[in-house]
Symmetry: C2
Subunit: 133 residues, 2 copies
Amino acid sequence: MATTLKTPENSAETDAADQPAEVRFRMRIMKGETIAIGPGKVSLLEAVRKHGSISAAARSLDMSYRRAWLLIDEINRSLKSPATISEQGGQSGGGCVLTPVGESIVKLYRDVEAQAQNACADQIESLTQLLKP
Amino acid sequence: MATTLKTPENSAETDAADQPAEVRFRMRIMKGETIAIGPGKVSLLEAVRKHGSISAAARSLDMSYRRAWLLIDEINRSLKSPATISEQGGQSGGGCVLTPVGESIVKLYRDVEAQAQNACADQIESLTQLLKP
């Protein structure tokens, strides 16, 4: 099948006109108008896990520290138990790590993307067959 | 399960703070930088089917005629065989109907959304359980 799952590892963009079709699944869990869990917040949690602080995670995503902090705050406010723990060091200086809840969110979310694509492989193949090569 | 699939039929927005979590699945099939098949284009095809012309479809989606026409043109250029047929009547006056290919795209796309949500029901339930009620 000429489709691949879009993940942070293979998301390099090229502008070749005849590259194969690429499938992106995105799930959002909404609470009212707010995206409680969605691709942006999960990518931010992964960046926090990788870089060990909100400021470094924000830089890695080309996002302002303020926006990253507000998103993390929004995630944690929406959860029964927080997804991150900030270590001492002041508002922008301290480290930040994922809690077990944060780890679960990342794992469940990425499982959903992969499993959705597997479950819909036949329809995705039918759709891509309708496209010009 | 306190989650419902977001569809055009039940997408009325409210700002009640304690409404149940709502799950939205969105698939995009990319060709390079272009979304060949995605939620916006599928909603536009559905509106064309319902309203019988690009201009009426555009109005129903609060979209300019020009933008709707360009999106339909982009869809048809990306396909081996077009998704719509425009009837006589000039650039903005004529009717527009879906071809069997257009009908297939709508059906396959909506099947993907429903099937993805069914396949991932366990993970979605686990994620929503982490949210405050």
